[in-house]
Point group: C2
Chain length 223, copies 2
DNA sequence: TGCCCAATGGAACGCCGTTCCATTGACCGC
DNA sequence: GCGGTCAATGGAACGGCGTTCCATTGGGCA
């Protein structure tokens, strides 16, 4: 092929920011947050750790880029909806799904809440809040509340499957958690002890969406 | 003093789990999350890093204990209230305040959402949800939604003051953020660009409590 | 008084993120 | 075609981390 403006393609397998981010996402998914290491990443890309720094400034920048890629894709996949309320449900569901599939994205959003990935979600939610008929400063309030809930709840959910070995599945995890709650001090933790019984048969996504409805109802009630 | 059951007091300045956790909190507050190091902590306590492991199993256990101490104190300080709704406002406010004063607590809650500190908050919120008249499975849904919102929003707020140097204050931070939002792509980010103007004069705590009202309204509407 | 063992603290291990720099090899002007 | 230039590479080295190991200590009890 002819000349390309800058650097062009040295080799077919040349390093590039995209290839690095892609490999980082794979590694994070495979090995978890502690599995992402410049050395391991370099090995997977058949290069040296130093070379990565030509394309990526630091590990935290790489993490943000990785999270942004996942979030951007999730936002693109969010279904078009008839009503603003449905649109918000769709966006929330996609975020929940993305963080569930990539738990490290949740941690990342909590660590850097004002970076690109969070802004993407905020923008999408905000537009629908506008479409809902919310006016003025309440737009910020409502969109922020939705964002905080969506991300906060997704993070908590995603940790379910991450705490123990991958071999321990969700049902076992909830069973163990329920047992732990039942053993709490009766005087200090009456509420947790009482609802511990509900834990094993609760549906994460349904619970998440039910919580979302509460906020949506609150927003529409204050229109 | 006579004999004490176990180990007793070797010296007045003896190491103990409490003293270690206390020093860790100080260090985290002074230097931020990256400032907590077993070596630095040992130096502050005038001992060696290895000695700490006699009282504390690992760094992550220490972080949980530190966060739990802060959260427990915040919960103890939560005001008694006339109505359940006021009580929830009080609890939320204390959590917000605690995470604002100790941003590392927020990160910690996001990283380990099923540990003791989170359960403390869940219990307090859950009791008030019960008192509000919510029944059965909806208690879990409502309390979870409140918890996710309270913690999620507090984390986002706390990061405001942590991103840049301590010398950069809140107003400058919000101004810089607002400027960044105004420079976003006009086609991709219409909502953020529009509300960027509101950013510099928004009141964090008021905004947080306004978002809380949305959920409370939603909960009471579905009674 | 002497033993025991909880408690200590310093050294060492294997990682980490990051920096440095000698080397490569494709492109551009000649 | 040829040589110079410089973006890009990758391996070595640096300082610091969490954690482990172990020789040493010194207070309480038989």
């Amino acid at each position: 092929m002819g000349t390309v403006k800058r650097g062009s393609e040295r080799r077919e397998d040349a390093l590039s920011r995209e290839r690095i981010v892609e490999a980082a996402i794979e590694l994070l998914d495979d090995e978890g947050e502690s599995g992402l290491t410049f050395r391991v990443l370099a090995t997977r890309l058949a290069t040296g750790a130093g070379a990565l720094y030509w394309h990526v400034a630091s590990k935290s920048e790489l993490l943000i880029a990785a999270a942004d890629t996942v979030v951007a894709q999730a936002m693109d996949e969010a279904p078009v909806a008839a009503s603003p309320r449905d649109a918000i449900r769709g966006i929330a569901g996609k975020v929940f799904e993305a963080i569930d599939a990539h738990p490290w994205v949740g941690t990342q959003l909590a660590r850097a809440p004002w970076e690109a990935p969070m802004l993407r979600i905020f923008e999408r939610v905000g537009r629908q809040v506008q479409a809902l008929g919310v006016r003025g400063g309440a737009q910020f309030t409502s969109a922020s509340a939705l964002l905080s809930y969506i991300v906060g709840a997704s993070i908590q959910n995603a940790t379910n499957g991450r705490l123990f070995e991958p071999s321990v599945d969700r049902v076992d995890f909830l069973g163990a958690m329920s047992a732990r709650w039942k053993e709490l001090d009766a005087h200090e933790y009456p509420f947790l002890r009482k609802i511990a019984a509900h834990l094993p048969r609760h549906d994460d996504l349904a619970e998440f969406l039910a919580g979302l409805e509460l906020i949506l109802t609150g927003i529409e009630a204050s229109l």
